[in-house]
Structure formats: structure tokens, C-alpha cells
């Protein structure tokens, strides 16, 4: 079972990218579990055609920890298992603690054994700001961390911070850096700036996504690009990215 985590600045397109990777892998017959680790709880929205699912944190608050897996995990596009960790009320509580509690609960419930996915993708909010946000990259969770960034300075800054966290944990048997995913915003010298980041943090760019209206068009349909516009150029870019990411994780996928 391959586990990978995708980090990046808020609003950079993590959930859209991750959902399209999941959909591309599902098309290729790979069993995928996507776990949204963000209080916004919209990571898997496109895979579920916009259907809002109850977050694990909400369920814990309502019912305690005695929750059947059927109420936590939902089947989305082509069998992708979708989980939304959720989080505390904005401005209150601790989002890091929420991620920890949810991932502990999934292990405690035997979710990974029960669904037996080939690939688990953690879609993690923003930066590694506290211990809770590092849980998806710890031993027993993701083996590889991928950073999504554009050429915007704040996104690059966040990417560098995430790489520092991975580096800090290198002696602990945690995840290693898989590479950078460039999600273009068409800012000046974008490719050069991201290449410089990759060089600084000693990794490579594993995939490039162009800025495209097709992404927004799919979002309006509450679908992934892979599902809504399978023959589009963007769908091709997502498939290439999915293939490249899985190669970095040591898995050949015929996409």
C-alpha cells in the first residue's frame, strides 16, 4: 500500500489536483483512498459530485468514537474511498489535534485493512505549522510528501517551509520528499522560480499543470476534470502527473 501526502499553501489547488490524481488512478483500476485533512472539508467534493459528507470530527463530537466505518468513508468516483477529517470551529479549537484524532481513529477502526486501498492520498491543509500537521508524514503514514506550488512568492515560501519540516524529520523514518508539483498561475519567471526552489530543497519538479479554464468549468459541474472533460488537454496533464507521482512512489501505473 502506497501512502503519499500533498502539502502546499492554502488556495494553491491541492484538493483539485489531488482529486484529479485520484480520478486518474481510479480510471486505471487503482483502488484509491483520499483523506482530506482540512477543516474546510472540501477535498473530496469533486469526487462526490458536490455531495457534502459528514466530517469525522463532526461525527466524533456527536457520537463519540463509536462510529462505524460506513459512516466515515464514502465511495466516490469509480470507487475512490473519500474521507473528510474536518476540524474545529473557525477561530476556536485545534486543527492539528483534529487531524491527529482522525488519523488515530481510522487506524483504531482498521480502515486501511478494511478498504485495502492500493494508494492513500492525504490532502493536507497549508503549511506544517504544528505537530498535528506533521502526522500524515510520520512513520506508518505517507512514505512520500509532494509540495504543490505556483511561482507566487507566498506559495514558494510555504513550499520551502514544508521542505524544512521534512528535512527536520529525516532521521526519524518519516516520509521523504517526492517532489514539487507546479500549478501555474502564469506569474513572471514562474518556471525559473520553482526550479530554484526545487534546487534549494534538493528535489525535482514531478509535474506541471497549466492554468486552464477547464479546471473551473469542471468545478462548476462538481466533477473532476478527468470525469467532466476526459479528452481535454488538462485531463492529459493530470494523468501524466498521476503517473509521475506514482513512479516517484515506486508504483508503475498504466495510465
Amino acid at each position: 500500500m502506497i501512502q503519499l501526502a500533498v502539502y502546499g499553501k492554502g488556495g494553491i489547488g491541492k484538493s483539485t489536483t489531488v482529486s484529479n490524481i485520484s480520478a486518474a488512478l481510479a480510471d486505471a483500476g487503482v483502488k484509491v483512498m483520499q483523506i482530506g485533512c482540512d477543516p474546510k472539508a472540501d477535498s473530496t467534493s469533486a469526487l462526490l459530485h458536490g455531495r457534502k459528507i459528514e466530517t469525522v470530527i463532526d461525527l466524533i463530537q456527536k457520537r463519540g468514537r463509536d462510529i462505524p466505518l460506513e459512516d466515515i468513508a464514502f465511495e466516490g468516483y469509480k470507487g475512490v474511498i473519500c474521507v473528510e477529517a474536518g476540524g474545529p470551529t473557525p477561530g476556536l479549537g485545534c486543527a492539528g489535534r483534529a487531524i491527529t484524532a482522525v488519523l488515530e481513529l481510522l487506524k483504531e477502526k482498521g480502515a486501511y485493512e478494511r478498504f485495502a486501498p492500493d494508494v492513500i492520498i492525504y490532502d493536507v491543509l497549508g503549511d506544517v505549522v504544528c505537530g498535528g500537521f506533521s502526522v500524515p508524514m510520520r512513520a506508518g503514514y505517507a512514505q512520500k510528501v509532494f509540495i504543490i506550488t505556483s511561482g507566487e512568492n507566498m506559495a514558494i515560501h510555504a513550499g520551502a517551509n514544508i521542505a524544512v519540516a521534512v528535512e527536520n524529520f529525516k532521521d526519524r523514518g518519516y516520509a521523504t520528499l517526492g517532489g514539487i508539483i507546479l500549478n501555474r498561475r502564469n506569474v513572471k519567471n514562474e518556471d525559473e522560480k520553482v526550479a530554484e526552489l526545487a534546487s534549494d530543497i534538493k528535489t525535482g519538479v514531478v509535474g506541471v499543470l497549466d492554468r486552464s479554464d477547464t479546471v473551473q468549468d469542471a468545478e462548476e459541474l462538481f466533477e473532476t476534470v478527468i470525469e467532466a472533460f476526459p479528452d481535454s488537454k488538462m485531463a492529459g496533464e493530470y494523468r501524466a502527473l498521476a503517473k509521475s507521482v506514482m513512479e516517484k512512489c515506486g508504483m508503475e501505473v498504466n495510465i
Binding site: 463519540g64 485545534c94 491527529t100 498535528g132 506533521s134 526519524r172
Partner: protein, 444 residues
């Protein structure tokens, strides 16, 4: 308008009749109060049962008070250490290193080498998502000849998942290493008190040639490790059940849960099940039941017109005991508990129908602090909290089922009731001692 502090609280905060009580929680969960009846065991007492072990608490200074006093009071302060967490550790993010380096420092300075070190992490480690598996991995690599036991002082989590009590009783056996199974060896697991030798439970095991091990009877760590050889673990205390199940999964031992029951047919069913697993004949309970009935009759005569109050710390099935005593002519009027145990549901349903005026009281509701104690009614209490809240000096001083089991346990309890009715006790001095029966340093 100013309100006088200490006036009697409204009755609905401190009492609910059986007919109106909700299962399993008759009272709302609110800010909690701890009455000064301290005979129940805590995580320090129970952890000390592992022979030749040392405890390290990692927490803020303010959290230490209770546990350090426990260790001092029971005479085991030499087996207790602590590491203080300060705000700097939180800001620097070196909480994991603090556990590792602090524990290593303590081990290096101890005048003896413990066979096991119980590390109690606290709420903040869990809030901050400390990587505890990494901490234990490093400690085990650094000290391969010491077993590190994951323990928890994490009250914030006590209403989700296993309770701290259940976790402690499970972790008590975590160091056991797999061994070849011996079909003639049996353990009683999860009890803080020695099970009575006179109980049918101990007698059935021993008289049929099985070797019995119980952590409360062991003196050395090597003897403790021999518990892994048993083919059967028996738990009798509800909080020990999860630990028994965990041992089954980890070591492949059979597990029988045989709670101390106040119902002759249930007692017989339990012993029939045990005899079947042991491959021996079940004792004839006829004479034992007659003996119990005689003891109850004597107790009933001694109690006279006193009302009976029971609390959940004395017996693990207080409502079943209330039903049993009522059926034997006692006037059970009050039960002190904060939640009705799952095992007590049938008795609770019975009480709603047959004892609708039976009063349930919480023990942790803050209104109980100012509820009047004592009064015109004369009580005989079973348990320290019941004694405290009713203000009586005639009480059975017992916690956690008192090591009793089977019909023999019913006889013992009846004798204790009879004695309590005849001889008043100095309640104030008796109930303030922590860990009734821990014996003060006897455990290691």
C-alpha cells in the same frame, strides 16, 4: 442578590428516583467534584503492582500533586520520578526529546536498575501530537534490557475510548513477552486486590491442580513474566475486561470474564463455564448458597431498621447488589454512582419497576459538596463514598469488590455488613487514605 454559599442544593441536582432515572447516565456531565473518600486505587497504585518497576510522570508541575502524594503515601516514592514540562518545551517543540532525555537521566541516577519503566505521558503530549511511538522506539534501543511501558495520565480523554482505569489495567500486562503456553497455568488479571483464597474461583483453580498467578501475589519481575505462560486469563473486574481481551489477541491466551455477581444462578453459570474450560467438575453450590443465606440472615438481623446505601466504588455492580439485598429483606434506599454499569442494566430495569423510590445520587456533581450529610435517617453504607455522603460511621470499608468472588464473596460481604452494623468505624480517618488495601509499599 447575593446567594449564601453552602446552602442545600436543589434536590434534583443530587438525586433522582429509579423510576425517573435514565440509563446509563442518570445525571448531566458537568464540572466535577471529588469527595474526600479516597480509598479507590489510581494509576500510581495500579502501576506499582509490576514488580521491580519504576514510574516516570512527564507533565506540568501542577498535574503532579495527586500522583506524587499517592506515591509518598503508599511508601513507594523511591520508585517514582517526574519530568517537568515548561512552556519553553512547548515553544521549542522539544517535547519528545524531553521525555527521552529526562527518562534516560532518571535511569542513570537511580540507585538500582528497574526491570520496567512505566512512562506516564499527559494531555499535552496528545494535544501536541507528540510522536510517542518514536519516543519509545528510541528508549528501547538505548536501554534494551529495560521494558518501557506506555502509560497515560490523560484525564481529558477519559470520556472517549477506553477510560484511564481500563487503559492502566491493560498496560499493566503490556510488558509480558510471548512464551510457550502451559495448559495447567491460569491467571486472574486486572484486579488491584488479591482474590480471596477461600473464594470458589481460587479454590476451583488450585484444587484441580492448576498453577494460579495473579499480579498481586507476585514478588519479582521474572515471576511476573511467567504470567505469559498461562493458557487462560480470568478477569472479574469490569475495567479489567479490555485488558483480558488485549492479552488474548497479543499472546493467544483464552479469556473468561467472570464478574463478581449477586445472583446465585449467574454465579453457577460462571463457574459452569470456568469448569468447562478447566475440564473439571463444577462445585456443588447448594451448601454454599445455604451458607450465604445464613450469613445474609445474620446480617439482616444485625442491620435492624437501618437503611442501606451503596456506592459504585465498593462493588462493581451496585444496582445488582441493591436488588439482591432488597430480595433478602434489606431496606436499600440510596445508591451513589455517576453512571450505571452496562452489566447492571437488567437490575436497573428491575429497580425501575420494583424499587421506583430508590434514590440514585451522583458522586462528582459539585452540588454534592454542599448536600447535607447525616440527618435523622440511620444508614449502613456499603462503600466509602456512601459512608461520606450519608455521614454514617457504620459502613463496609471496601473498594473494587474487595477481592471477593462467588458465593464465598457473598458470605464475606454479608459478614462485613453484619460487622459494620455492630461496630462503628472512624470514617474520617479511614476514608481519607488513598488506595485501600495497597499495603503501603508492599507491591514491589
Amino acid at each position: 442578590m447575593l446567594e449564601r454559599i453552602g446552602q442545600s442544593p436543589p434536590e434534583e441536582l443530587t438525586s433522582v428516583r429509579a423510576r425517573d432515572a435514565a440509563f446509563p447516565s442518570p445525571f448531566k456531565s458537568v464540572l466535577e467534584y471529588a469527595p474526600p473518600a479516597r480509598g479507590t486505587w489510581n494509576i500510581v497504585h495500579t502501576g506499582m503492582l509490576i514488580p521491580q518497576s519504576h514510574q516516570v510522570f512527564i507533565c506540568a508541575d501542577g498535574c503532579l500533586r495527586g500522583v506524587v502524594l499517592t506515591a509518598a503515601e503508599m511508601g513507594t516514592i523511591d520508585r517514582f520520578s517526574s519530568v517537568s514540562i515548561r512552556e519553553d518545551n512547548v515553544l521549542r517543540g522539544d517535547m519528545e526529546e524531553l521525555i527521552i532525555d529526562g527518562t534516560a537521566d532518571i535511569i542513570g541516577k537511580l540507585p538500582y536498575k528497574p526491570r520496567a519503566v512505566l512512562i506516564y505521558t499527559s494531555c499535552i503530549h496528545h494535544f501536541m501530537a507528540c510522536d510517542l511511538p518514536r519516543v519509545y522506539r528510541i528508549l528501547r534501543e538505548r536501554f534494551p534490557d529495560i521494558e518501557f511501558v506506555e502509560c497515560y495520565m490523560n484525564p481529558i480523554m477519559r470520556k472517549s475510548g477506553l477510560t484511564p482505569d481500563q487503559l492502566m489495567r491493560r498496560q499493566l500486562y503490556a510488558p509480558l513477552k510471548p512464551r510457550p503456553i502451559d495448559g495447567r497455568a491460569v491467571n486472574i488479571v486486572g484486579n488491584d486486590l488479591v482474590t480471596d483464597d477461600s473464594s470458589e474461583l481460587v479454590r476451583l483453580i488450585k484444587e484441580n491442580g492448576f498453577k494460579l498467578r495473579e499480579i498481586t501475589r507476585l514478588k519479582t519481575y521474572d515471576e511476573y513474566q511467567e504470567m505469559a505462560e498461562a493458557f487462560l486469563n480470568i478477569s472479574t473486574f469490569p475495567a479489567a475486561r479490555a485488558g483480558g481481551d488485549a492479552l488474548s489477541q497479543r499472546l493467544g491466551q483464552k479469556h473468561l470474564y467472570l464478574p463478581f455477581a449477586f445472583d446465585y444462578s449467574e454465579v453457577e453459570d460462571e463457574y459452569t463455564a470456568l469448569a468447562s474450560v478447566l475440564g473439571c467438575a463444577c462445585p456443588d453450590f447448594g451448601p454454599r448458597i445455604a451458607e450465604a443465606e445464613d450469613a445474609l440472615q445474620r446480617a439482616r438481623a444485625a442491620v435492624g431498621g437501618m437503611s442501606i446505601a451503596i456506592d459504585y466504588t465498593a462493588v462493581s455492580r451496585p444496582v445488582q447488589l441493591a436488588k439482591f439485598l432488597t430480595e433478602h429483606g434489606f431496606a436499600v434506599t440510596d445508591i451513589f454512582l455517576d453512571a450505571v454499569p452496562g452489566e447492571d442494566k437488567p437490575s436497573f430495569d428491575w429497580a425501575r419497576e420494583h424499587l421506583p423510590e430508590l434514590k440514585f445520587h451522583p458522586t462528582v456533581h459539585p452540588a454534592m459538596r454542599v448536600r447535607p450529610r447525616g440527618g435523622d435517617e440511620t444508614f449502613l453504607a456499603i462503600g466509602q463514598k456512601a459512608a461520606y455522603f450519608t455521614g454514617t460511621d457504620r459502613f463496609v470499608n471496601m473498594v473494587e469488590d474487595g477481592g471477593h468472588h462467588g458465593c464465598d464473596g457473598i458470605v464475606k460481604l454479608a459478614e462485613l455488613i453484619e460487622d459494620a452494623a455492630k461496630v462503628p468505624k472512624d470514617a474520617r480517618s479511614l476514608i481519607q487514605m488513598k488506595g485501600l488495601g495497597c499495603g503501603g509499599g508492599c507491591c514491589g
